[in-house]
């Protein structure tokens, strides 16, 4: 184990979280819908058109 490396990471993580919290608390923050990159991304498809998916709905 490398204590220094571990400490640095925890410090970095703490900084990121506290910065985000501070920004969220102080700034006018709007929600952002973020789709993780492992997901099939939103947007149009070659065959499915603007929706990007074939959606079968029940009326």
């Amino acid at each position: 184990m490398r204590p220094m490396a571990r400490s640095i990471h925890w410090v970095l993580i703490g900084l990121v979280v506290s910065t985000m919290g501070l920004l969220a608390a102080c700034a006018e923050m709007r929600p952002l819908e973020y789709r993780e990159i492992s997901e099939i991304q939103a947007g149009p498809g070659l065959l499915s058109g603007e929706e990007g998916a074939f959606t079968f709905k029940i009326d």
Partner: protein, 410 residues
């Protein structure tokens, strides 16, 4: 009057009478023909207008417009099934020093796959859903070997997600089955628009390629020397996500075999400055013998400039000495010089130490471009990347790779 003339005259009168009697019917037929011709002319004009629209706005416009036809009925109410997927294929050139090779590959940055999501509303608050997502990779960039004789891969579908969820707007979401653990993707938040070919998981580009000495003695593969410590990936688990509160979402999951993890995510827009971040802790000591902490953050400015970073470290219980650690940074720019879609450019740098062996120092850097073609759901990409591995006592050549291809959503 001779009788013959009489009959001739009588026949003529009858013929004239018949013709006079049929005149209204002929007039009616002419009118019908005229109407039919007018109808056909109108239809022809419509077709010509549609063709003209297709040339200017994309031939797929009718497909998009046909969305309203994608409706079926059944005995259930308030349910829907969404089917989506993508094909992501490319050509990879690799030079590991002694050997150069071209491969026709499935790009493991975002594999070829298909997904089915079923959703049904229980009430105004609760939605129940299922998700089946499988991938089919032939010659995956993560699996290829520099000396392979046939394409790599299982030549079959492999699991990604086989799960159901119960989603409450007030209480959060519960997932059960094979799917993302809470910590998965926490090293990979990315707003650069180039993740289809480059993100913190750089081993997805040519991960199966081994480093080699000048004498062609093979060493560790790229994906053995590098890891972005991205949580516990996908697994059989039960997972809970809180509702979003001020942009934050907390998650935890218990994984088959006794592993567990927890994560905190953030996504927010500060006056046009889009920010996403995630941190996670994962404990896999019961099965894989490690615990780790990792995280990532990505910021996209309104002008298109973006910065992404990720870091992580893993404590391997069976190893003494230094823990493996990694970090990654990316600088990118998104803009739209063409009407048909956005362009994204980027450069990155990554480093992983002490992973394949104590004292190893792995380093990578790359440059890449992605061009979107929105009307056809397609992204073309080109990436160039170099990989270096320093190991005491062994002189490995760099692995140089170029990947170009396209991801097409269907």
């Amino acid at each position: 009057m001779k009788s013959g003339n009489f009959w001739t005259w009588k026949a003529s009168v009858l013929a004239i009478g018949f013709c006079l009697a049929s005149l209204p019917a002929q007039a009616q037929s002419v009118e019908e023909l005229r109407q039919q011709i007018e109808t056909l002319n109108k239809r022809l004009d419509q077709l010509e207008m549609q063709k003209s629209d297709g040339q200017t706005t994309g031939d797929l416009a009718p497909a998009a417009g046909a969305a309203g036809d994608k409706t079926v009925t059944s005995g259930n109410e308030r349910v829907k099934l969404s089917v989506s997927g993508q094909v992501n294929r490319g050509v990879l050139f690799v030079d590991n020093g002694p050997t150069e090779e071209f491969f026709h590959v499935d790009n493991d940055n975002s594999s070829t796959r298909v997904r089915f999501i079923g959703e049904g509303k229980f009430n105004d608050d609760v939605t129940v859903g299922t998700q089946i997502e499988v991938q089919f990779e032939s010659n995956s960039t993560a699996d290829i070997r520099i000396d392979q004789d046939s394409p790599a891969g299982p030549n079959s579908f492999t699991e990604r997600k086989l799960e159901f969820f119960v989603d409450s707007e007030t209480l959060g979401r519960l997932w059960v089955g094979q799917g993302d653990t809470a910590s998965n993707s926490t090293s990979e938040v990315d707003l650069s628009g180039t993740d289809v070919v480059a993100y913190s998981g750089i081993a997805d580009m040519a991960g199966g390629i081994a480093f080699a000495t000048s004498g062609n003695v093979l060493g560790p593969r790229i994906n053995q020397a590098f890891n972005n410590f991205d949580g516990l990936s996908r697994d059989d688990r039960i997972r809970y996500d809180t509702p979003s509160l001020a942009g934050f979402t907390a998650s935890a999951s218990a994984v088959d075999g006794g592993s567990w993890d927890a994560a905190l995510r953030f996504a927010g827009d500060f006056g046009g400055i889009k920010t996403v971040a995630a941190v996670a802790y994962a404990n896999a000591n019961s099965r894989q013998g490690f615990d780790q902490v990792n995280g990532s953050v990505s910021v996209l400015l309104p002008m298109g400039l973006n910065l992404t970073g990720a870091a992580g470290t893993r404590d391997i219980s069976a190893r003494s000495g230094d823990d493996p650690m990694t970090y990654y940074v990316k600088l990118g720019y998104r803009f739209q010089p063409f009407d048909f879609g956005e362009t994204a450019l980027g450069i990155d740098y990554g480093k992983t130490d002490d992973l394949a062996a104590m004292g190893d120092e792995f380093m990578t850097y790359g440059a890449f471009a992605v061009q979107r073609f929105d009307q056809i759901g397609t992204e073309f990409y080109l990436a160039v990347r170099n990989h270096e591995l320093d190991r005491s006592g062994t002189d490995f050549d760099d692995v140089f790779a170029v990947l170009s291809g396209a991801r097409i959503k269907f």
